[in-house]
């Protein structure tokens, strides 16, 4: 098994996806190369991926799907001739419920088929927007899961189904959970706390509701 991991984050090595990739790769002993979509031409990277029997594309979820730069790589990928190549995906998203990525997951499984690759599955982890900013101990569980995922991948050449299932929780938000989160937001103790902190750090808090492209008649 020779593995190519493509970090599909537009933030390259500075983003959350890079952290996911690093911890996943910690568990892998097989030859494994990591490349960043943000720093390379999409066509070159798509062509380069043909040299590997196993390709893993890791990415942040943007608008229920892959970032534009990942779709540009996909557009350049050619179907495998002998069907011996395999492809899997790791998706991390800001929204906490993994069901938000179901469009992407459905698309990626279909894409594998279209490319004549064996589909290895898609790992989805929500609530990951702040991973790069959180203290190490708050990410401990996530990092352990990613390492286990890597180790199992190294052993079996596939993602561990139980780990995938655990990481995908919560799949949906219950009515009660939504009410609670909405209430926390109202009191400024939910995820709005994170945004407030970041906006204040950047001295942009007073401008947070700016509407710079409102039309001149003021109707939007």
């Amino acid at each position: 098994m020779n593995i190519l991991i493509i970090n599909g984050s537009p933030r390259g090595k500075k983003g959350n996806t890079e952290i996911f990739v690093k911890h996943f790769a910690l568990g892998i002993k097989a030859p494994c190369e990591i490349r960043c979509a943000a720093n390379e031409g999409s066509k070159q990277l798509a062509e380069y991926s043909q040299l590997f029997d196993t390709v893993i594309i890791a990415m942040p979820m943007y608008l229920h799907a892959m970032p534009g730069i990942v779709m540009k790589i996909v557009e350049h990928m050619e179907p495998a001739e002998d069907g011996s190549q395999r492809i899997g995906f790791i998706v991390q998203s800001g929204f906490m419920e993994s069901a938000q990525a179901r469009y992407l997951e459905n698309y990626l499984s279909g894409l594998a088929k279209q490319l004549n690759y064996t589909y290895l599955g898609t790992v989805i982890r929500g609530g990951s927007a702040g991973v790069s900013m959180m203290p190490e101990n708050m990410n401990k569980k996530l990092f352990a899961q990613l390492k286990t995922l890597g180790e199992q991948f190294d052993l079996n050449g596939s993602f561990d189904k139980e780990v995938i299932k655990t990481m995908a929780r919560p799949v949906n938000l219950s009515k009660g959970k939504c009410r609670m989160l909405q209430c926390m937001n109202r009191f400024g103790i939910g995820d709005s706390m994170f945004w407030r902190y970041m906006l204040k750090t950047n001295k942009a808090f007073d401008k947070r509701f700016d509407k710079p492209f409102r039309n001149s008649s003021g109707t939007t």
Binding site: H64, L173, C178, W195, K207, P212, T220
Partner: protein, 159 residues
């Protein structure tokens, strides 16, 4: 009625106040920097879509003529969607029973999408249509129409 056209194919002129032809001006990719949320709220670090943002927000209707690329929206179209995130706040509302971004503006245009291209299965076609509906649901726009381009030509002919 103010109309904006986002186009990836075709030469038939559609009467509109503003047209973004992705074949001529492919938008610069989102860098994921979050400046549009956290440093210069509402403004992207790239300036290439500023006129588009203004026209989009002033429009009553947006007509999208989109390609099907590997069974999905094209990379350029996806980049455009990514680059529309400055029009929304980073804050999340759970009122609809799931996570959704809070609108930054009071009003967003209605969207109609017409596509050109082939799908390998009915399932793939449904996913493409559902995905575009979903994007504009997230973007707080009414989007009742995601149809093959033939439907657009037919409607135009009947007008």
């Amino acid at each position: 009625m103010k109309t904006v056209v986002i186009r990836e194919f075709g030469d038939v002129a559609v009467p509109c106040q503003y047209e973004l032809d992705l074949r001529i001006t492919a938008p610069r990719d989102c860098t994921g920097c979050w400046s549009c949320w956290l440093k210069t709220p509402g403004r992207c670090i790239h300036k290439d879509l500023d006129a588009f943002y203004r026209a989009y927000l002033a429009a009553d209707k947006v007509i999208i003529l989109a390609n099907v690329s590997k069974g999905f929206v094209s990379g350029d179209m996806k980049t455009l969607f990514d680059r529309m995130i400055p029009l929304f706040l980073p804050y999340i509302t759970y009122k609809s029973g799931e996570s959704m971004h809070v609108p930054r503006y009071d009003k967003y245009p209605a969207v109609e999408a017409y596509y050109q291209g082939v799908f390998s299965s009915e399932q793939e076609k449904k996913l493409y249509e559902d995905y575009i509906h979903r994007v504009f649901y997230q973007f707080h726009s009414k989007c009742d129409v995601v149809e093959p381009i033939a439907q657009f030509s037919l409607k135009e002919a009947l007008r």
